[in-house]
């Protein structure tokens, strides 16, 4: 009975204007002081520590530092086996994308940002520049061939390149069509620095979309190696790391946590773990969305909404109030 009465009194206190003791509290003054303090701290941190700004990677840097990797990636774009070529929606139909059981959210929107890696990353850039005679001839041969023939040339050469450990100088003879010349031509173009500008704005003056550059660069090992060196990989808590010794997006810790679990980093080829790893992004996204909804709707979830009382941190926050009342009693 007393509990019910206390509960009712508590509810009354929480929902009506407070009639207990009050104290003077100047919110505006507090706000001005807070802004001044924050400004001083931010100016101090900025002046003494600066901020991270590692220069962006370039295709020129890639072709110069890792020429074979660039060359092999170009061949995989022509063969249609690169990550971009097999990605699926929203870029192309080379794959199905990630699924959550029978649900494929990735495919719902269809191909809204069309990307054809062989043409967009290799053929078109080569066509926009004046090329040596052998590259011009190779372009003519490629564009004059059927899609089946193109695929046969590129996949045959990719297999041979794989057998030679990715070293183009060690590849044996074979019917590779124009593929080696095209790959070599693009590598030369990238090393000269011309590819960076051409990929950004092929045939146009303005460019605000870097999707193709990001995808192409991500297909090779250059971007990946730089990320590993800076501990930015997903399984290195990379989502919340930053280059150098600076703090990154620490607030993504609840997201990043899941990528550290072995079940989402499995080397297995088949089975439950392999499936989870292949669809890690959507599975983790769903987990985080559910967790977020639970926290957001905490006020309405019996049991969970009483957690603060059980944890007891409120006794520290309101210790003066409780202590004052205890002494008065």
């Amino acid at each position: 009975m007393r509990d019910a009465s206390l509960r009712a009194a508590q509810h009354e206190l929480e929902t009506t204007h407070w009639r207990g003791p009050v104290r003077r509290y100047d919110i505006v003054k507090e706000g001005v002081i807070a802004f001044a303090v924050v400004a001083v701290v931010v100016v101090g941190l900025s002046s003494f520590l600066g901020s991270p700004d590692e220069p962006a990677l370039t295709f020129q840097g890639w072709a110069t530092a890792m020429p074979n990797d660039f060359y092999d990636t170009t061949v995989s774009e022509l063969a249609g086996t690169s990550e971009s070529a097999t990605y699926g929606p929203p870029y192309n139909d080379g794959g199905t994308g990630q699924t959550l059981g029978p649900i494929n959210l990735q495919a719902l929107a269809g191909i809204r940002i069309p990307v054809d890696p062989a043409n967009d990353f290799v053929i078109q850039p080569l066509q926009t520049q004046q090329q040596p005679a052998d590259v011009v001839a190779a372009l003519d041969q490629w564009t004059g061939a059927t899609a089946e023939q193109q695929s046969l040339w590129a996949s045959t050469y990719e297999t041979a390149l794989g057998a030679a450990d990715g070293d183009p100088t060690a590849v044996g003879d074979g019917d590779y069509g124009p593929v080696p010349v095209l790959a070599s031509g693009l590598e030369q173009m990238a090393a000269s620095g011309a590819l960076d500008g051409v990929l950004a704005a092929p045939g146009s003056f303005y460019s605000t979309d870097n999707t193709k550059q990001i995808l192409f660069m991500g297909d090779g090992g250059y971007l990946d190696a730089a990320a590993s060196a800076n501990e930015l990989q997903g399984n290195q808590w990379g989502m919340m790391n930053e280059t150098g010794a600076y703090p990154g997006q620490q607030w993504l810790a609840p997201f990043s946590f899941w990528y550290q679990l072995p079940i989402f980093n499995s080397e297995a080829d088949s089975g439950f773990a392999a499936n989870l790893t292949a669809n890690a992004d959507i599975v983790i996204m769903v987990i985080v969305v559910v967790f977020t909804l639970v926290v957001m709707l905490l006020p309405f979830i019996p049991g969970l909404r009483d957690l603060p009382r059980a944890i007891g941190l409120h006794r520290v926050i309101w210790r003066r109030y409780y202590a004052g009342a205890k002494e008065r009693a």
């Binding site: 206390l6 509960r7 009194a9 508590q10 206190l13 929480e14 407070w18 009639r19 207990g20 003791p21 009050v22 104290r23 003077r24 509290y25 919110i27 507090e30 807070a34 924050v38 941190l45 900025s46 002046s47 901020s51 991270p52 700004d53 590692e54 220069p55 962006a56 929606p89 929203p90 990735q106 929107a109 605000t208 979309d209 870097n210 999707t211 990001i214 995808l215 730089a226 990320a227 800076n230 997903g234 990154g248 607030w251 992004d281 983790i284 996204m285 977020t292 006020p299 009483d306 603060p308 944890i311 941190l313 409120h314 309101w318 109030y321 409780y322 004052g324 009342a325 002494e327 008065r328």
Partner: protein, 271 residues
């Protein structure tokens, strides 16, 4: 214009006539909004000079610190917006302003997380304050998206890697088809205009809700207040006792405690 020229047609005069006095409820939309604001958010409640005595912990400072950091983000962001996203790669002044923006964001999230943990610990959603909690969470979520677009907008190596990685999660969720983090033009507009606008609106609603409902009373405050009432009956207050009680109500920032009912003029209708 003469009084006759300004007179309403007979058929509409009754509908649009201004109510004779305050007792008569307004019929126009704007009048209803005004009446609602007058009832729920009088100036005394919107800009109060007092707070309940239990608002006496440093944890309460983190809400306003979050707003202060947001202010620094906006100020430094305006300078960066005028100079463009390449400025801070080539200019020391630009790099310094980028650093201001960077550290403001870091502090903003630290303050906001402490504020969030504090409000969770207080179960601050009690007493019809769920909307305040939800808008706070929404502000946190939109801030995360804004932070992501800001990191992508740095146009450096970090941006390349983050956009390459983030696209997979967004694509998997079916969002990437519209929200393309590799599209710098889209990211810039969303980061500089759309998301700050959304955050501004959510934060404004959040702050108004805080003022509307007041600061949540402590857990078990009813038991405490009943004990206080019982004590005052059994031991009539003396000047010394009142002073002793007041000392316990002193705040971290040294505010003075006022008699119990002096503040009642600040009252208003509570939701």
């Amino acid at each position: 214009m003469s009084a006759e020229q300004g007179a309403l047609p007979a058929g509409r005069a009754g509908q649009d006539a201004v109510p004779a006095g305050d007792a008569e409820p307004p019929t126009s939309w704007i009048g209803r909004i005004r009446r609602r604001l007058e009832d729920d958010l009088p100036y005394e409640k919107l800009l109060p000079e007092t707070q309940p005595a239990y608002v006496a912990s440093w944890i309460y400072v983190f809400g306003v610190l979050t707003l202060a950091a947001l202010g620094m983000i906006v100020v430094s962001g305006i300078v960066l917006a005028f100079e463009g996203p390449s400025w801070y790669h080539t200019s020391n002044v630009g790099h310094w302003f980028n650093s201001l923006h960077f550290w403001s964001v870091q502090l903003f999230f630290v303050f906001m997380l402490v504020h969030l943990v504090g409000k969770f610990s207080m179960a601050a959603w009690r007493g019809h304050r769920a909307r305040t909690w939800i808008t706070g969470m929404l502000a946190f979520l939109v801030s995360i998206v804004t932070g992501l677009t800001g990191y992508v907008l740095q146009t450096n190596f970090d941006s390349q890697w983050i956009s390459f990685e983030a696209k997979d999660g967004l694509n998997a969720a079916g969002v990437g088809a519209w929200f393309n983090v590799a599209n710098l033009g889209q990211v810039a507009l969303v980061h500089v205009f759309l998301l700050p606008l959304i955050i501004g609106v959510i934060v404004a609603v959040h702050v108004v809700l805080v003022r509307l409902h007041g600061v949540v009373p402590p857990i078990d405050a009813a038991a405490v207040e009943q004990g206080r009432a019982a004590a005052s009956v059994t031991a009539p207050a003396t000047a010394e006792a009142a002073e002793r009680g007041a000392r316990h109500d002193q705040t971290a920032s040294g505010g003075d405690v006022m008699p119990v009912h002096e503040h009642e003029r600040t009252g208003g209708r509570h939701a």
